[in-house]
Symmetry: C2
DNA sequence: ACGATACTTCGCCATATAACGAATTATAAG
DNA sequence: CTTATAATTCGTTATATGGCGAAGTATCGT
């Protein structure tokens, strides 16, 4: 996570990142484990460029980490030690959201997460 | 706190309320105890109508409570039991912000908080 | 080398939000 | 009753943000 001049800037970088429903949906999915961008695109039902921007905002805020594997970029909730305050934020986030995933949305998430890249990623252009 | 259709709406009502530097400054001041609106106006250096709107947003999100005493409305961080998730949010908020108040800003806050309404409130119109 | 796939960057547009001042309401003081 | 103070509501304006598609970059498969 970047350095900030003061605690307010640092804090509002986090809260602004969390102040959008689509980004929160993405984070809730990531509570279940890492996902590549095209899986998130499918779950969110938004344009690739939009989801990419959302994930970039979450990444800049330090809330998610990513790894590249071939053509795919996998995102996961940030876990890496170091920052105590960030860790507290992620804990709060998980406690708030984790229990409440259900219905069709959960079914779809499981389905998409089960599919490997070979069988899934290829039909997301709309 | 109001009822929400789903957890995402509930959560983003909180995070949107927290996604503004001036509102976070106000909350940080309230970590030190209750304050009336005109004290917050003085600390924030914004127009009365603007601060009133900010406090109304924080109140709607359930983050602050208020009590009326004569002409004054006193705001405080929400403490009232009941909602476990809200309590967790306030705890997270306090842990994040509480330690970091210092310098001129702290001096000014103490000064304003020490003044009673008789001696203070009367010169905030600008 | 070439085309396809995964993702990012950019520019545009629509909507949301923060700020102010003017007008209004409520309470206290003279 | 009239004036002053504390706070709210409303209308306006400037800026921020979320959405998209088009174009660009990177990597893989053939």
């Amino acid at each position: 996570m970047a350095k900030y001049r003061n605690i307010i800037d640092e804090f509002t970088t986090l809260t602004k990142a969390l102040a959008d429903g689509q980004r929160v949906r993405a984070l809730r999915y990531l509570c279940e484990g890492e996902m590549c961008l095209c899986q998130l695109i499918e779950m969110l039902g938004l344009a690739p460029s939009t989801v990419s921007k959302h994930m970039s905002i979450l990444h800049q805020a330090g809330l998610v980490e990513s790894r590249k594997e071939g053509r795919w970029i996998y995102y996961r909730l940030a876990e890496s030690g170091g920052d105590v305050k960030l860790a507290g934020t992620i804990r709060w986030l998980r406690e708030y959201l984790e229990a409440e995933l259900m219905g069709e949305e959960l079914t779809k998430l499981r389905e998409i997460r089960r599919m490997k890249r070979e069988s899934f990623c290829s039909h997301y252009q709309r």
